[in-house]
Symmetry: C2
Subunit: 415 residues, 2 copies
């Protein structure tokens, strides 16, 4: 079967140009949602869409749509895309790559004069990275926003979403009108950098994502007694940090016994009180999160964590408390798209790895209204959310070609 | 053998009165060195000394001396005492008890019209608690101060020792003249609350201290790689906190294998970077201190800690660094005084426990120029450096009687 190819030089030029927008001279890229950098990136993208002769559409949530063969929404579209906004001090690929590959795919199909059963859309979703909570644009399209959620969204500096959008001439409440009917989307595909080390370590260019991990995140407290570190014998202590250390040392065992090869668990934040070298820790508070692609695994891990923490607390004379900060269900990707990605990859003679996404993406929101899946390309050393983010252009080209041929096939295109 | 008894009501009245000086209405006592509270406490003490008909002497380091049978320093004195200064928010016993018991002992011996071979001194040492580093007064007497150490001493607010003493009419450089010749002190005995739980848990009123623990305190860094907690598989992590947890879980084993029943080790402060729930810790910095009364044990523990940390770092792909923040040698108490305390305690028909001091005291400084030892009384639940500090008056009375009879015997007194 004949395959299509993207224009590598044009894609690279787009990536280079966009990487200069919002760039700090020393510290990476700053295009947080509705900031000046983000607005400049959006304006640049609009011009690229229009230059390419594609239809440009901005919905109520300020999602930007490049459209090919659009027929007033009468035919369900094949949608691709990602986000242009960044974390502070970001690299040039997280989000941007998926939007620019989507644009490039539509340009190629248009240039080749190819026809397909379904219109194509390349979307840049608003605020994926979470200045105002994250995945604002995809949630708007999936109909998950409410007037309350819009009104209560604020950034870390206390600026409200409403004010931030008003500052750039947008009405936040319009996001409620961005909702798309499930029948209007035939399928969704997002290309993204892996943001993890697996593909890079294995030397494989294509990740065929079959699920996006769910997670639970707890805030755990172990409460003992703060005592003088010189005068309190080891066997008369209720050392809260020793309780945490014992638990932490059991995490791998708990994952081995209850988890899958994909399960991860992390203690990333620890606060010890009173926190002086000469005082036995009287209290520790720490974050505990675990991720897996199977709901049952997450439940089993959570139960095992609770049992371990309770046992340690009881034996060490500590109090144990926890509260659930967040719980996100795992999402399975669409098996039809997974198969198509696999077939395309084979026809392009590229090795691929079927894998999970450990990070959250707009895809998991869109999957609630449309069949959806993802393609990963390697992240050098797994680096992400960092100016050191890097993917070889060879890998980008391969990923973009897989995306192009997958989108065209899903859209019912014929060569 | 006949024994002497202190005046319990008078001692209790002194404790009650002094506990009101520097007291915050809600939060304990504030008599940090050379603060208004400290100066008021000193003035109150001077009046008590003069009321008792004892000689009052203030040396260059602002140590306050109550003296009985003083003969211009021609005969070596038997010295007792502790400190009147407190940590912020302190209880009423730490330091103050030893000073007031010393004063009460001298008053009793004077009232009884008893004679002894050696003059007696009850001393209130300046800045034991460390507003300007700690043990200023005892270091001055032991000849350990230098012009440089005096000039460079500052408190946490940046106020210099020189300015703080100048504010209350004292010249800090005079502390150099407080040095005492070793021949001028026949022996030193300090009574103090235990500041730990041992006597209270065992229901024993008297601790006969045979050594003051030495310690080493390190600042340790384990350096790994900060990675995305969702996308980085467990076997591709260099999790600095997991390294710390593994080490921390080995501390008890290391103490069991290398330490004594008295060895303690504590991780009291931990700083995790970047410290976000969804980022694998890339770096931990933590305090690590260990205490014992034997130099060889401290050396063995330090070696075992280094080996364990190196092995964990190597296996987990972490870098391991540490620096020594402080090292204090253990001090043995004088066996002659220990024996006298034991004999006095037996003659008073009191159970006692031979034990170590895990906390630092002026005694360990004075021990460098004179034979020295300590008596402990129980601390309720081991509480100290807290307004919740408490010792039953029965225990205080017993401790004071042991101190009185011990001091009188050491001074060559006869009944």
């Amino acid at each position: 079967m004949k395959t299509l190819s993207i224009n590598r030089e044009r894609l690279q030029a787009d990536l280079d140009e966009l990487s200069q927008i919002g760039r700090h001279p020393d510290f990476g890229i700053y295009r947080m949602a509705f900031s000046d950098g983000d607005m400049a990136g959006r304006e640049w993208f609009r011009k690229r869409v229009e230059e390419a002769g594609l239809d440009f559409y901005q919905d109520g949530a300020a999602n930007l749509h490049a459209r090919l063969n659009w027929n007033e929404g009468k035919t369900p579209s094949v949608m691709t895309g990602s986000h242009l906004d960044t974390v502070p001090g970001a690299g040039h690929l997280d989000g941007a790559l998926g939007v620019l590959v989507g644009l490039e795919c539509l340009r190629c199909i248009k240039e080749e004069g190819l026809s397909s059963d379904h219109p194509l859309e390349a979307v840049a979703f608003s605020d994926e990275e979470g200045r105002f909570g994250g995945m604002l644009g995809s949630q708007a399209i999936a109909g998950r926003l409410t007037p309350e959620s819009i009104h209560s969204a604020v950034d870390l500096d206390g600026v409200s979403l409403t004010d931030a959008m008003d500052r750039v001439g947008l009405n936040a409440m319009d996001a409620l009108h961005a909702r798309r009917h499930p029948d209007s989307i035939h399928a969704f595909l997002e290309l993204h950098i892996e943001q993890g080390p697996i593909l890079d370590k294995m030397g494989i260019s294509i990740g065929n994502v079959d699920a996006i991990a769910g997670l639970f995140k707890w805030e755990v407290s172990l409460i003992g007694t703060p005592n003088h570190a010189g005068t309190t014998p080891m066997n008369m202590r209720n050392d809260a940090f020793m309780g945490l250390s014992e638990f932490s040392s059991q995490i791998q065992r708990i994952l081995d016994e209850n988890g899958s090869a994909r399960t991860v668990a992390t203690i990333g934040r620890v606060d010890i009180q009173p926190g002086a070298a000469n005082v036995v820790p009287g209290r520790v508070e720490f974050s505990l999160e675990a991720r897996d692609t199977e709901p049952q695994v997450l439940e089993d891990i959570a139960n095992a964590f609770r049992r371990a923490l309770s046992a340690i607390a009881r034996r060490r004379g500590l109090m144990f408390e926890f509260k659930v900060l967040s719980e996100i269900d795992p999402v399975k990707c669409d098996s039809g798209i997974i198969n198509t990605v696999e077939n395309v990859t084979k026809s392009l003679k590229l090795p691929f790895l079927q894998m999970a996404s450990g990070a959250a993406h707009d895809t998991q929101i869109i999957s609630s209204i449309a069949r959806a899946s993802m393609i990963f390309v390697p992240s050098k050393d797994g680096r992400s959310h960092s100016a050191a983010e890097w993917t070889d252009m060879d890998d980008i080209e391969k990923g973009a070609n897989v995306a192009l041929n997958t989108l065209y096939r899903i859209a019912g295109g014929r060569i």
